[in-house]
């Protein structure tokens, strides 16, 4: 029979191998799923993974990977800090919304003034907004020992209501004939997070995501704070002996995650999305959790995982319209990725052994 045997130390090889195995298993299970739906399984998988990168219209899809991947990476990087230290921020979606609201609020307050300082102020406001929203679960945890998972998650719903209220009230476009939604920031040059190089879809959010990856890498590998984060996650007791202040760590991890998620929201609302609307948030904050784990909580891993996730979104849409695959099948496919990753993860900490049943 199969037996799991705990490894004395997590296998280094499997740590890096599991994401690849998980992707392969997802492809296999996905192909089977698509075959059951009566679609050509190989063509389906090919459409999802190949078409966005190498088809006739790849010149349009490739830059779109940046648009879709940047917010995922930016948010996931922030989340990974906390996750490494065992601090579970599940509410990035809410911090993303609040960041967008604060940033867009600054822009709309200055409208129609054209000035160079508006966009930097918006970025600042976006980061501050996300940070402040994350400080609620952080302070409650530090002060009263509340569970940050619950508090941060519940605040997502509060943020959604606030978003609806803003789209219908304070930030509503006065020239919108009473319809909900703010002015479109794409038509306000000083506030527009436009393409930096035409044709690349490279906007400030993409730049910020790359910078976040680099800084986090340095923080985790070269800075004492990064060491404390890793130590707290691996052995809280040892961390305390090493003089780590848990309260400060909580405030830092949640705050950074909130600020990055808030910036992601700001870059989205001022760029690709353009306006504050009731349905502005599309789940980046939750998908980023998958991205963080798929990337092994490692900055470079997260970058790759974000790109992969973006690929399945864009490829999934192509598969829907070209092959008639239902949207739900694509979502199941994406969900399987995390499922298989967690399943395969067992091999990092355990060895699988065949043993003969012993007669008692």
């Amino acid at each position: 029979m199969l037996k799991l045997e705990k490894r004395p130390q997590p296998s280094r090889m499997w740590t890096y191998l599991t994401p690849l195995v998980a992707v392969l298993l997802t492809m296999l299970a996905g192909a089977a799923l698509f075959a059951f739906l009566g679609k050509d399984p190989i063509l389906s998988i090919r459409t999802i993974f190949w078409e966005p990168l190498f088809s006739e219209f790849a010149f349009y899809y490739r830059p779109q990977l940046l648009v879709k991947g940047a917010p995922l990476v930016l948010i996931a990087i922030g989340l990974s800090l906390g996750f490494k230290a065992g601090i579970w921020n599940i509410g990035a979606e809410g911090q993303y919304i609040i960041g967008a609201l604060c940033g867009a609020g600054v822009a709309l307050a200055f409208y129609p003034l054209e000035a160079w300082f508006i966009f930097p102020l918006m970025v600042l406001a976006g980061a501050l907004g996300g940070w402040a929203w994350a400080m609620i679960p952080a302070l409650l945890k530090v002060r009263f020992g509340t569970n940050e998972i619950l508090v941060s998650l519940m605040l997502v719903y509060v943020a959604e209501q606030l978003l609806a209220s803003m789209s219908l009230g304070l930030l509503k476009n006065p020239e919108g004939f009473g319809f909900p939604g703010s002015r479109n920031l794409q038509q306000y040059p000083s506030a527009h997070n436009a393409e930096l190089i035409a044709g690349t879809s490279m906007h400030w959010g993409v730049v910020a995501a790359f910078i976040a990856v680099i800084l986090t890498y340095i923080l985790l590998n070269r800075h004492i704070l990064g060491f404390h984060i890793r130590l707290t996650g691996e052995s809280p007791k040892a961390a305390r002996f090493a003089g780590v202040n848990p309260a400060r760590l909580i405030l830092f991890c949640l705050g950074t995650a909130g600020a990055l998620a808030g910036m992601a929201g700001l870059f989205e609302v001022s760029g690709p999305s353009g306006q504050v609307s009731i349905d502005f948030n599309v789940g980046y904050g939750f998908t980023a959790i998958i991205v963080a784990f798929l990337g092994r909580l490692h900055p470079v891993g997260i970058l790759l995982a974000g790109a992969l996730m973006a690929l399945t979104y864009i490829g999934g849409e192509i598969a829907q319209s070209k092959l008639g695959l239902p949207a739900a099948a694509i979502q199941v496919f994406q969900g399987m990725l995390l499922f298989f990753l967690l399943a395969v993860d067992v091999t990092t900490n355990y060895r699988i052994r065949w043993t003969k049943r012993e007669v008692a």
């Binding site: 349009y60 648009v67 209220s165 219908l168 909900p180 035409a198 999305s273 353009g274 829907q320 319209s321």
Partner: protein, 357 residues
Amino acid sequence: MQFTKLLATAAVALGLATTAMAQDKTKVGFVYVGPVGDGGWTYEHNQGRLAVEEHFGDKVETVFVESVPEGPDAERVMTQMALEGADLIFTTSFGYMDPTINVAQKFPNVKFEHATGYKRADNVSTYSARFYEGRAIQGHIAGKMTKSNIVGYIGSYPIPEVIRGINSAFIHARKANPDVQFKIVWAYTWFDPAKEADAAKVLIEQGADVVLQHTDSTAPQAAAQAAGNVITFGQASDMGEYAPMPRVSSIIDNWAPYYIARTQAVIDGTWESTDTWDGIAPGMVGIGEISDAVPADVKAEALALKDAIAKGEYHPFTGPLNKQDGSAWLADGEVADDGTLLGMNFYVEGIEGDIPQ
């Protein structure tokens, strides 16, 4: 803008390619906000798509993408369809308005049709249905049928479209029954069975024995069925599986004739940017079979109301009508103009509560 040029070149190249191919096949794309199996809004748009396929057979190919979030994702899906050679694209949610305009600018040879919006361009038309005509009939039945005199209403978003429906239903419920009160719950979603079911339960607990919905799933119907003695109306789709109780009638969106006509116009090369707002008369708004749970006299009155609206003898917003704050809106016999109706952001007199801001 290099990118725009690139896209435009591709579009022109495709335009040439598709004109060359136009003799055999016209490609029509549909972008849906919900899943095609929602049993409501998206379901009916998809029925329209299937009707196009059936009507034109091999001459037309249709493609669709479902559950597309409003925003950059919608923009990408539309661009993708245009790149893949679509000649006509229907974008079927209000929130697709700015994305539709953006993509239409990049593809001047592709025709776009945006449902329920107000922004048009040379290659962008808008279309919507006068659902408030159907709401008048629902309101009448609701006013006659309620025993608790409390009618529950599940609103999606407080936008003019939805507020217009509430007002129309309320005016006609009050005409049928002067004691009737409306309780309104805002779900802030078009499609979320769990939230819709919760909203229905809250309304029923507060004494509502009629539940109207402006959301797309059948969850409120199921909640009403479980509660017993509560009546509902199918929304966007007939929801006939819940007849005769709780579903006593329905408003059915019938997009098929419009979709077929517009596709034909593209094939003929006669397509022009238009603004369409049709109601019961041309068949864009259908009234589902009124079930036996409704007494014969009420049913007859409801059908008479439907005929009067269809013939143009009666407009659901006819004065005297006051706004909620008591100020005069329409004088005796005066009929509301389309501009006011399209931007409606106030309740009529008698409705309690505020429109969320």
